[in-house]
Amino acid sequence: MLVADPRTAAAWRLLRQEIAEAAPERRRELLRQRANQSRAADLHMIGRAGLGHVGGDMSVLDILTTLFFGVLRVDPEHPEWADRDRFVLSKGHTAGALYSTLAAAGFFPQEELATFAAPLSALNGHPNRVKVPGVETNTGPLGHGLPVSVGMAVAGRLAGSERHVFVVLGDGELQEGSNWEAAMTAGHRRLANLTAIVDRNRLQQGARTEETSALDPLDDKFRAFGWDVHVVDGHDHLELLNVFTAPRGERPTCVIANTIKGRGVSFMEDRVEWHHKVPSSEQISLATVELAR
């Protein structure tokens, strides 16, 4: 099991405080910069490893950054704190995005990112809770995160805890039936302590979701299953922050975050081939320049 990096964790605490106290536009800018730093770290990681899921990493990073730098009640130096909020990345193939975010928050040293996918690294192609602090359950096969998160929400309610469960789902993975079993359970049990965020980038591995097995109207689907649904711009940190921290009703919350696969790197945006293509070192340099703007 990797261990926390206290220096980075301290910096994370300071940045969180600065973000919390900043005026809205400044808050958005701080989160945007932080997310783009994680994007750059992730691209270098993927370049070194020669593998990764770059498109989905880029689409989900604003969501992850907003959660870890503005929302989640977690402590990187005490990752097993019982009353922490739970975060589950159901789309486990975007582990690179999660690793770069966790490292930036000090859950483990940032130097570890260089080992991504190397033999015997803790940072496997899909996240492993036994090896990586901040990972709550092992994901990878699609359609697993939501049922486990429902169990965590049931547990939080049984324990009388205030903790909240956040789970990020890929849109393509909503084609897995297990999600709808769990959506039904959450709606039926009115699990108000559960928020599911759909990274709605509209692309799956081989094609557009709507050309493969259409998901729309996705908001109506979740509503019909008993959820409160919000549709937001998944790259607008302020919108994300507001929806994640808004007073909650008596039902589980679904946030459909409209995103762009490959977001932040012009030549990757909304292009299906960047699902898991590996950028060349020239492309990484170009992307790094774009992300530094």
């Binding site: 739970r86 809770r129 990878g140 096969p141 359609g143 429902v150 769990a182 039904m184 359970t185």
Partner: protein
């Protein structure tokens, strides 16, 4: 005068009694089920602990995932469903959410083997031991009678490790007496010098009967109750290889990858392997019939076990 009829028991009763007794003492114990409140014998639990029974409806993948989420949050979930659906439908959840994630869920496969008789192969669970044995880090326990079922439930609640418990519906006599249940250890229910019968679950009482009858033919049979299928008690198998001339395995399951295959892999790697006979279902779907008929059909009676053992003893 005919012999007195032996009393037999549905192990689900002992399972539920013990679970309720434990739940009274430990509020971390919860039950999760797939509409199987009745068939998993959880009515009593539901009545006494309505908030601690999480019935997700007919949704096994959800059921196992929810169990994992509870386990990862400090609860001790007993996830109960008919074994064919729990293990077949939710196999990937068992692999990824439970075993690989090391979430201490107690998976309770109810009414396994061919307990659902006439309902047919869709409702039989003869593959469970085989496919679960392939999953790293998952303990597999098959109690032989009510007493061992209770002991296994107590052990599983405290084990803090992923485990599959195969809870029988087909009625069996009490066979383990006062012998303790020790996870990972076979118990010798009868010692013998010619042949060893390694049996599990419903086959244990039949193995004992076979040994009794074989003694009349001058064949001495050792009976091992292999109530833990994974990890296997390899030392007990190696001792049987050293001390007896042959091994018969008996399981209400497919021999493709189940107990027989597990024992065979130890036998063949022994310095001086002995001959074996594997009794079970040989990669076939069952015809129509009740459980007793099917056990007979597939050669899983005491007479079949005795015949296999005697043949090895004389061979």
């Amino acid at each position: 005068m005919s012999a007195p009829v032996q009393e037999t028991f549905d192990c689900r009763v002992a399972f539920a009694d013990e679970l309720i007794a434990l739940a009274r003492l430990d509020e971390r114990i919860v039950a999760v089920c797939n509409d199987s409140v009745g068939s998993s014998n959880l009515v009593g639990f539901a009545t006494e602990f309505p908030d601690r029974l999480i019935n997700v409806g007919i949704a096994e993948q959800d059921m196992v995932g929810v169990g994992a989420g509870l386990a990862l949050s400090g609860y001790i979930p007993f996830v109960c469903g008919a074994s064919p659906f729990l293990t077949g439908r939710a196999l990937e959840q068992i692999k990824a959410d439970v075993a690989y994630s090391q979430s201490p869920v107690v998976l309770c496969g109810m009414s396994p083997g061919m307990a659902y008789g006439e309902l047919g192969p869709t409702h039989h669970s003869i593959e469970d031991l085989s496919w679960l044995r392939a999953i790293a880090g998952l303990g597999i326990v098959v109690p032989a009678d009510p007493s061992e079922t209770r002991a296994a439930v107590r052990w599983a609640a405290a084990a803090a490790t992923p485990v599959f418990l195969r809870v029988g519906r087909f009625k069996v006599p009490a066979v383990t007496g006062d012998l303790p249940f020790t996870f990972g250890t076979a118990s010798t229910l009868r010692d013998g010098t010619d042949v060893t019968v390694v049996a599990t679950g419903t086959m244990v009482s039949r193995a004992l009967q076979a040994a009794e009858e074989a003694a009349g033919q001058g064949v001495s049979i050792r009976v091992l109750n292999m109530s833990t299928i994974a990890p296997l008690d390899e030392e007990a198998i190696r001792a049987a290889v050293r001390e007896t001339r042959g091994i018969v395995t008996a399981e209400e399951a497919t021999t493709t990858g189940g107990l027989g295959a597990a024992v065979a892999s130890v036998v063949v790697s022994s310095p001086a392997p002995v001959r074996m006979r594997m009794l079970g279902v040989h990669r076939e779907f069952a015809p129509t019939g009740n459980t007793e008929f099917l056990l007979e059909h597939f050669g899983l009676t005491a007479a079949d076990i005795r015949a296999a053992a005697v043949e090895l003893a004389h061979g």
